[in-house]
Symmetry: D2
Subunit: 367 residues, 4 copies
């Protein structure tokens, strides 16, 4: 309702700014009895953190989470889990240069228009720094999905500039394949080209956009609510809530515009599963959701991520008083957001799925 | 929470199936004192209704709404507005043919997996028939946006198959221009090509996809909430909640993937507005939202809509028991969903905007 | 959020005024597969309807519900259930007498202050007529509670004026015992005294207050959420949402103010249940909830209901312009609200319980 | 939805246990531009803290809040305010004595039934310690109410055991009068008797119940939503969400049961207010709300608070295995909860009012 809570039954509420003491989240609705410690959160935080490779910003923010509540004797209690991630790298910077200017592509102007003033220290609440607690919450969600349903959520970089990875079977990509490259692209040949492109762009004091792809396997059929809270609608909202995302698609996506129905429809078939059989489709242009409800096929989504707005070369803009001026952002920014986008997108997909899993279960007969 | 309510302060709850007595919505949170009657709802319902042109299905559903509450002496009272749209064309059809088969591309299988059985009469709740009450609610939202803020929401068909309209200034398109063509494309030359394509596809017993574009002008800067309830996130969810939408983008959209930051950032400038001046951008690749909050520039979104799944030619599928079979849907379906998609997308954008307008206002000092 | 929706997973949204075409509710989140027809709703509606005995208003409103959606082949589909109850007795009355006056004890003035004008026809939305759809929704909730959990919800009149029923074991009262008397008091001796008192009050053109008691048996231990959404908090809200309720208590209630801890604490014991044993308390001063969560003991609540505000004798008041005047309400009002209050309170308790039952289930491991 | 969030537009989410590192709350939806620092939160926290007088527990918990976000240059930014209150007095106690026993009157058994295990350290999440962050959030709410609307919220102890304070004009009681006595009863004579009673009860190793009264003045008419989210319903839920509250009433409360309509109705009159005039009632049996919406008269509520469940004398109970045993709680508990209940109840009333103030404003025309 007020913009900083996500989910219904598995609910994440966040707070914090880029240059305050730290970021906080409260995960409410986590089932009791799940083994949990800070060590469960660290791996994904390390994938999201700045300074992890030459492809990302060189700021050093180790992102060490501290669980303040909701865990007792190593297990979740069913009560809210508060997580704090202190901000370590709060440089006592001199912001007088950007204090009264609107950075192009950033939320400086829109926050000012909304609230009447803004926290000019590194974007304040509009900084992508807030996503670290989302990633921490997502790590909890992933754990439940894996333990309760065998669901895996894996993301990777599909495209950087005009370099497009060739991933014929998205559902087969593993975390290990993704992490094998600093650009998080599991197509090794294209990964090399992406790295080269990013390096070139960085040297030119510029930035470059791209596309991330996220895949969930083993989602049971039947998750998602008809009409407004379709799984595709909630996943779409989740992805668009991430900074810099300008487009979201699933399955064939925008490619459907030029398709005929006879080409596009995925045909149902019956698949043997040991003794049992279940319904599947022979192809997955529908991206794992029909009528907005999971079909049992892999869920496949893509997000378009714009080039980093902060540039070290000067850009034209105006001051708060409307006077023309120029601005250049001091170093330390990612020339391409995609490698660090991957764990954020995975986290958001996991949060949506765990919530829908609880919703689905709630209405099943206890008898 | 249960999937059939949309919005926070301006809240729409819907019910109804394609072959039940009718569809119902309750609009809760509408401000008091707005002049309202059924006549305000009819025009957009007529734009959405089947049978309006040769390009759409020939089913005859006049969609005559009846307001049951919330209006007194011609004005809204501030209490909930219940609207019922009876289903007129409930053919006593013989569904034995499709009762136990899953139609490809439809939600038959996923509903069955979710609920344990399905209403096989024309898709039941998963039919696009449910959108008629959304359009009625959207008409109320549009009226408030226009009266209170001067906001206009206009949609049109941007692409059908490989025919792409040329719309250099989306914010200048008027309702009249859109309605001038049965395909709802305001580029007359491309409209003709789209119509020709749709006619050809229909004759081939096939269907075709496309892209719709929706534009809101005069949205004040500052609407939208930071982090999860970004305006772009809520608009994204709204669009993805519509049937057949496989992709959503705003501004430059997926085109950002190949852009450099220097190319993509929209530069701020100061614009004279009579005596006053305000901040604007010289270009609108950001589609009217920065940090997910409105910038005062036109909001421009696009939705990819898949080709109609129902085809009159036979398709392969399975029965509920997993037996291979074929299915063909008896006539009367839109060969292309786009012309009727336009009013639905406008309605969803209007619902999101009016809700955020109320949210924004709620926190402004009364002093 | 906008005042006309209740519940989270089992969600009821209502609309309608006393003198409009009818009242509407949409029940969203009802599990699929529950047998349901209008006949399930009628008995409780008949208990709530006006004109059922000499003790109630003589208006004749048969309250015949019509289910418009969400039921197919006799069972709920899992999609929203829309129910309409037409208003039959819309007298084309002359309201010029009360149009510009504020009736004491009613919401005329507060609605006017809130919305800037009011529907003066019989109270509009503030009329207790809106509760008929709550009772219909509650009947569905009761059915699920009974079938899934063996829970029974029974209410009765505990007090009218200074006549207080003697109900030593609230959990043993049956619907039959309640319905045996038109005043819905299962203590036959006190029921007679209540009837006599109500008759006397009516003749004196006056009204009288009272207390209703509602009891739920077989609620499993563990329902309710810690902190804000305690079961007692949600039940408290539910009861206070009913018209004319000025006080709510459970268990020993206000009687706890004069108790010592040694007297008030209910002692735990172990109870044999066939082969099994479970924990119970030897007494039930805690009214079935500890820490706001159900204990497995009967849930017992009481509501104080004020005397009917509408009186046929003249009362002093002011006009909309602030001029002193008098007002008298034309006949046909209940001299005592309690007998018809009983099914309303039962419905609200059932709605809260079914919602918490679904919430509780949602977080239990599927393994 | 998950029990640890309260409010809609002004939303408080809490986390923390009695013996964890601390309690946390996130206040989301606070308007921008309100001056705020920890010093604003301290006074009410000091009124709630243990160890403040001989009448309360002797535990020493200074409750020093730390604001982690949402405030910049001394003012709220409009983004979420995270507050942490560390737990200082986490005695490394030996809980082996109570670990497997259910304390009578506490939530030990019900939490165990709900979650499958419990945090036995001092009640964990069910401890009243969680209310400290509510009081902190309430202090922010009070500040907005005062600055924006001139609203004051004051609570006091109305009754302890059979000692009932005489407060003829609740709306005239000031914070200073309340704080003049350690028992927080503004009737000095009865305050002395209450203190004496509490001292006696403590010596007898027992506890005693009571009643708190909370009053809000200057609430504008028209706040509250019709039907489910009546102001009285939300206030009722708020009060029942506090530990140990077994009854809530407003205005005449349960006293209405024996009233006639002619006695109970408050008569409207017109009151001169300098040049203006407004509508008021000559009496306030309706406690400031009609139809659940504020009338402009003082809002007056009372809560029945049970005697402290923890007793240092032995009480009978059972173990987790159902074996009969006895339990006695080691010292340091309040013999009467009422003095420390007062700031909690004020906080909850303030949270409800500020939320309804924002809701009310959201739907007013911007023109």
């Amino acid at each position: 309702m007020s913009g900083n809570t996500f989910g219904r039954l598995f609910r994440v509420t966040t707070a914090g700014e880029s240059h305050g003491p730290g970021n906080v989240c409260i995960v409410d609705g986590c089932p009791a009895g799940i083994e949990l410690s800070e060590a469960d959160l660290q791996p994904d935080l390390d994938r999201r953190r700045p300074g992890q490779s030459k492809l990302t910003t060189q700021r050093d923010e180790p992102d060490s989470p501290k669980i303040l509540s909701g865990v007792f004797e190593g297990k979740t209690t069913g009560t809210p889990i508060a997580i704090v991630i202190p901000n370590r790298d709060q440089r006592s910077a001199d912001y007088s240069d950007i204090k009264d200017k609107y950075r192009p592509g950033h939320a400086d102007y829109t926050f000012d228009a909304k609230f009447g003033f803004r926290d000019y220290r590194g974007g304040g609440r509009s900084s992508a720094r807030e996503t670290n607690v989302r990633v921490a919450a997502g790590a909890i969600a992933k754990k439940i999905l894996r333990q309760w349903h065998g669901i895996t959520v894996v993301g990777y970089v599909k495209q950087v500039g005009d370099v497009i990875a060739d991933i014929p079977e998205p559902e087969k990509i593993t975390l290990e394949q993704v992490e094998a490259s600093p650009v998080r692209c599991p197509d090794p040949r294209k990964a090399a080209a992406m790295i080269e492109l990013i390096e070139r762009v960085r040297k030119e004091q510029d930035s470059i956009g791209g596309v991330g792809e996220v895949v969930a396997t083993n989602v049971p059929p039947g998750w998602g609510e008809p009409v407004f809270d379709k799984l595709k609608a909630d996943l779409g909202k989740a992805m668009f809530s991430l900074p810099a995302v300008l487009g979201v698609e699933y399955g064939i996506g925008f490619g459907c515009a030029t398709m005929r129905g006879t080409q596009n429809n995925d045909v149902f078939e019956s698949v043997k599963d040991g003794d049992k059989q279940h319904v599947a489709t022979t192809t997955n242009r529908h991206g794992g959701m029909l009528g907005g409800i999971s079909s049992g096929m892999p869920i496949v989504m893509r997000c378009a991520v714009k080039p980093t707005s902060s540039l070290s070369q000067p850009q034209r803009t105006v001051t708060r008083d409307g006077e023309p001026t120029t601005i250049s952002t001091k170093g330390r920014h990612d020339p391409c957001l995609l490698p660090r986008f991957v764990p954020m997108a995975e986290a958001m997909m996991a949060l949506v799925l765990v919530d829908h899993g609880l919703l689905h279960r709630s209405r099943q007969s206890p008898r």
